[in-house]
């Protein structure tokens, strides 16, 4: 639902990054989205295309890397990757863990043609 707002933020930030390199043309953008970020990749791609067209930008490829959830066991300290939900620690089976990442929305890099 809010992918339009997110797409326009990525669009604005990535064009601003490209503009720091005079004469460069933005060709691709890579974002990292955590599984817990509440962002749907298809909806984001759709919003990206619509917003790019509306802003009269040349088409730019949007690469989305989905990031898994990483937990840290609060008993033994083991860090482990799970699906969207929490799982018991693979080492000590404790269910007591904390979220390390998986909710990020990061503009990782831009690719420019120079």
């Amino acid at each position: 639902m809010h992918e339009v707002g997110i797409a326009s933020e990525i669009l604005r930030a990535s064009h601003a990054e490209a503009a720091r390199r005079p004469g460069a043309r933005l060709v691709a953008v890579t974002v990292r989205i955590g599984v817990l970020a509440g962002v749907d990749a298809d909806a984001l791609r759709f919003a990206w295309d619509v917003m790019s067209e509306q802003a009269d930008y040349d088409p730019v490829t949007l690469q989305i890397e989905m990031m898994p959830r990483r937990n840290r066991c609060l008993e033994c300290g083991r860090e482990f990757v799970t699906e969207m939900y929490s799982e018991p620690c693979p080492d000590c089976s404790s269910e007591n863990s904390t979220l390390l990442s998986g909710d990020e929305m990061q503009l990782a890099s831009v690719e420019v043609e120079e």
Binding site: V31, G38, S86, E95, D103, M105, L107, A108, V110
Partner: protein, 227 residues
């Protein structure tokens, strides 16, 4: 020739920047800010009405309430004598930090000890926007499905507290309370859970205690930070 330029910035960088400013403002003013999120109709406004009714006139409590349209919620909440402001978002499905910054302008930062933000009824988008709050609270009513934490893991994984509302209706609905709690813990093992009824007052002692504990902890932390 193409070059890949690393950026490594948060997508919602601007929202985050303002949220950090708000966090500073809350710390300076000694304000505990809580961001309340749920589906439409889970009972956020009723929960706040009943909560406000429990404070005395000297308590420095304020509410910001967000909706796409109407000032209805602000009118309901203003009856308790505390400062309340409606944020009408138009078509936007969540509150962002800039809306909060703007809404707080008329209030001096030291005149609020406890700020409730009632987000737009939506379990998805509000979870992405930091409003500088101390904690997010997710509200789930017994008239919804007990699998909501599994369907909307984003907000349940970030909320410090889940409040289960409409507990007085539990005998009349097929809601499996234990399953709902297990589902929330599957997404977020450390989530705190309080069950309430705004009709009977069930659970309000625990909820008020939670607020008191949080206020004390925040005050201590603000004092340690020397702000």
């Amino acid at each position: 020739m193409t070059t890949v330029v690393p950026v490594e910035k948060k997508v919602l960088n601007e929202n985050q920047r303002i949220a950090e400013e708000l966090r500073q403002r809350y710390a300076k003013g000694g304000t505990l800010c809580l961001n309340i999120i749920s589906s439409p109709g889970s009972g956020k406004t009723t929960l706040l009405e009943k909560t406000l009714a429990g404070f005395s006139a000297q308590d420095k409590v304020a509410v910001l309430t967000g909706d796409l349209q109407t000032e209805n919620d602000a009118r309901r909440l203003a009856r308790y004598g505390f400062p309340v402001q409606q944020i009408v978002t138009g078509t936007v499905c969540h509150l962002d930090s800039r809306m909060i910054e703007r809404a707080l302008e008329p209030w001096a930062s030291n005149e609020i000890d406890l700020l409730f933000i009632e987000n737009v009824g939506n379990l998805v988008c509000p979870s992405s926007y930091d409003l500088g709050e101390e904690a997010k609270i997710v509200v789930l009513s017994v008239t919804e499905g007990e699998d909501k934490p599994l369907k909307y893991p984003s907000i349940f994984s970030k909320a410090a507290l889940m409040i289960v509302t409409k507990m007085d209706l539990l005998p009349y609905v097929p809601f499996n309370l234990e399953q709902a709690k297990a589902n929330a813990r599957q997404v977020h093992p450390g989530i705190e859970i309080i069950e309430v009824s705004c009709q009977t007052g069930q659970g309000f002692d625990r909820w008020q205690q939670w607020l008191t504990d949080r206020r004390l902890a925040a005050r201590e932390r603000f004092a340690c930070a020397g702000v």
